[in-house]
Amino acid sequence: MNFALKISPPFLRKLDAYLRINHSWIWTTRIHLHIYIALLLSVLFASLGLVYHISINDVPSVNDQNTFFGLLFIPATVFLIYMIYQMALFNTDKSAAYRFRYQEFSILLIYLFTFFLPLLIPYPASLILNGRISNLVSDNELQRDQNSFNEALIFLPVSNASFYYYYPSDSAYLDTRQSKTFRNEYYDAEEAVNTDDTTISTRRQWALLADSIYHHKGVFKNTRPKLYYRNTRIWSKNSLYGYNTYMTNDLTESTAESNLRDSLFLLYLDKINIVRDPNEASKHISQICELLYKYTHFEGGVLDQKTILNDFLKHSYSESYCNNYPFLYNKIYTSTDNITNIYRAKLRDDINAWDKNVLFVLFIFIFCITTIFQIYKNVHWKQVLLGAAILAILFTLICIIEVVSNFDGKFISFAGAFLSLLFLLTTIKGFFIKKFSWVLNQMAVILAFCLPYFPLIILAYLDQHHHIFTISYFDKYLEPFKSHDGTISWSYNKEYRELVTLIWISTFWGGILSYVFIWNSYMKTLFLRFWNLPKTK
């Protein structure tokens, strides 16, 4: 670790010397130097997050952010490898006399923390970048812009099918239920490419409605309004932007509130689409032009708002003003992207909203690395590899037998429980032998791999073979269920399912904790004994 010490401030060197002399078991973990390097890297990475170019016209997308995060993970992974290398170099457990036993519990926790460090390093940069994006526009301003954009987009007649579809006025009518109807030949031609269920269903509905086009009544009676097909991508809950709440939802409002507001918004759009009020249209066109100037690099001059308004009122989309500005289509996309990216950044700002499963998977990953390192620390590296290979072969064989014999998953749980128990009991012999036995040592290595999951394996065995979750104790969770034909059957209620899930989760964590508190020290003692025994060759 000369490199780390060379770049260390004096206080860290003093700390290094202090730990080496007074708490050598901590010193060997190199945790103090790893924390220091991790901090340095975090600061360095964070500065990258600060200098990353962003502007309201060019907002990095979530993918961009993920790529940035991923790139930072490369040096973080290199750091992880460096740490493991350093920890292996300064590992004293390979020397017969220089072993720690009673500190094992603390060492395991330190290792867990150590392996977390490199994974945490890219986060400051990512959070800073996300924060900067999020702060480009205030929450209220973004909400206002979103609403303005949604309300106004319909007035910007870009004659591209991806945004709008224009239906000739003599082909579309409103029936008594204010549904849109179309001529058969029209949708046949346009929708033929879409074969999903929704389209098929829509086709059928439209085919039925096609017959009723002359029966329209109500508010639009005798007016034959020109209708415009709103492409749902712009504002729908299933928009291409991936966020259900995008564009219409407030950052803080509930789903029920947003649903209500969406439905009102749809009605509003329907209305302004049909009732073409020039004042209303003019106001919205002005709004969207401003938004396009704001959220994109608008180098194509000033938009001619009067022409756009006339186009809208005349329904002349095929010959519209916007057709003369092909870039407009891209500008709309860019601005919606930028708004979306800022919105997403604001959502990511809330750490509570992060997916907790990611943390769980991360923990399991770290725990596995720690377990492997703990084993490596106590035995020769070849024995670790051999242990992993044997474990893989055993698992493969068990799976093959399971599949070939069609044991319905029971063999896996049986073999897992049986072998774990067998190895656990056999390795006790290690405390009494006089010469090193590679068979027992290898068994101990495999056992150390399995021990954290031992309770889980046993529970799986009890579930599969003894149906532990259907014993009479659980009868109190049974509830009658009446089927369509009137027969009554009994099934477990929600509370039962929650209880069973809790038992599985508790068993899993119980296994992890039992390894941390009990098995880790037990295995250490066993490995210590193996290591000190005279070898046969």
Binding site: I21, S24, L89, T92, K435, N532, T536, K537
Partner: protein
């Protein structure tokens, strides 16, 4: 009759008289620890030793040497003045390990090797030299003694602190094994020794003192900041010994420690080993293997000569000299094998062997080495090398044995 402390003090006085500051410094440092002098005296001895070692690197001028000599003389006087409080006596040398007829067999399709039964006793303060050609079982024996290799037959009993031990974990803490191929360590040498001392239990100021004592005592002052890659083979070995000594082992096992050392370094190391064995505080039992017979024989109390896996000789050199009646001479000069054969054809039990560097000539006790030498000179044989190895186990290398 002089006491032990007086013997030691006389020894140091003699070194100072001969201006051998190195030895004087080493032994003075040893004495301050062996006889539990107070901290200030120990520190002074360390400081002087440090000054000497540092000066060696810089190239000391005579005036400085004189000044150092004065300082040492002054320190010695202080030690002498405090002598009454230091009346320590040499206690009985205890047996640390009994090796009873241990044997080992290696079987493979290409090579079979049988290490035949051997018995040994490792005593406090004793040095056992293990000699023999390559592949004769030296390392095998050392590995069995240090508990790295299990014996097929026989057993080794270990006695530390007067008690018998069978727990390998404890036994291995009492044995330091330094293999021929040293295991690499990381960081600088000083930190490594300090770390070893910390694990042993030397914390805070004690750690610093222990490290300083070992480093300066072993003449490593100027190399303590170096890393593994920066050290020469000889100093790597010295540091390895220093690290082992921090653990205060009862048994020190060295496999071919002289292999990479120059003549001067060999002598220095062997002298250090002798001093370690003679230590009062922790009289280590040392067993070392080597090809450097003459050097080993000078310090070893007991020599074991291994040939084809069996001990052809196991005892002290006095026994060997008594046992061997014939004369064996190593010789070289401007003469040929035929010249020697012609010259000695009438001698009894004459045997002449030629190696790459010299002739080895054995003859019966009826003739003496002086007679042999006169015969050579009388026949105008020009001699460039002559060595009487009659009392050395080196003669065991001969095919005769």
């Amino acid at each position: 009759m002089t006491t032990l402390i007086e013997d030691r003090l006389n020894e140091i006085q003699l070194y100072l008289k001969n201006e051998d500051i190195n030895r004087a410094g080493q032994r003075l440092l040893d004495i301050t620890y062996d006889f539990d002098f107070d901290r200030s005296l120990r520190d002074s001895a360390i400081q002087l030793r440090k000054t000497y070692n540092e000066g060696k690197q810089l190239g000391r001028v005579k005036n400085e040497n004189e000044s150092l000599l004065k300082d040492y003389t002054s320190l010695l006087n202080t030690v002498v003045q405090n002598k009454p409080a230091l009346n320590k006596k040499l206690s009985e040398r205890k047996i640390l390990a009994k090796i009873n007829n241990i044997s080992k067999q290696f079987t493979s399709s290409l090579h079979n090797f049988h290490f035949k039964p051997i018995s040994l006793e490792l005593k406090q303060g004793n040095i056992i030299g293990l000699v023999g050609e390559n592949g004769n079982g030296k390392t095998t024996l050392l590995r069995m003694i240090c508990g790295d290799l299990a014996t097929d037959e026989g057993e080794i009993e270990y006695y530390f602190d007067g008690n018998a031990y069978t727990d390998w974990q404890f036994i291995k803490k009492k044995i330091a094994f330094i293999p021929q191929r040293l295991e690499r360590w990381y960081g600088n040498a000083n930190d490594k020794i300090s770390f070893e001392a910390a694990i042993k239990g030397y914390k805070k100021e004690l750690n610093e003192e222990k490290v300083n004592f070992i480093v300066h005592r072993m003449g490593l002052t100027n190399f303590r900041e170096l890393t593994w890659t920066q050290l020469s083979s000889g100093y790597k070995l010295r540091f390895e010994i220093a690290m082992a000594l921090v653990w205060e082992p009862s048994i020190l096992i060295l496999d071919e420690p002289l292999a990479n050392l120059d003549i001067q370094a060999q002598e220095l190391l062997l002298q250090d080993l002798r001093n370690l064995a003679d230590s009062l505080r922790n009289p280590v039992s040392i067993i070392l293997s080597s090809q450097q017979l003459h050097e080993v024989e000078t310090v070893a109390d007991q020599v074991v000569f291994l040939k084809n896996g069996s001990a052809v000789f196991n005892g002290n050199l006095h026994d060997f000299i008594k046992m061997e009646t014939g004369v064996t001479i190593e010789l070289n000069g401007n003469f040929s094998y035929n010249d020697l054969q012609k010259l000695l054809q009438n001698w009894d039990e004459i045997k002449i062997e030629q190696s790459a560097s010299c002739f080895t000539i054995s003859f019966s006790e009826k003739h003496t080495k002086e007679e042999f030498l006169e015969l050579l000179i009388g026949n105008k044989f020009s001699i460039t090398y002559f060595r009487n190895i009659s009392g050395s186990t080196k003669k065991l290398f001969s095919d005769k044995y």
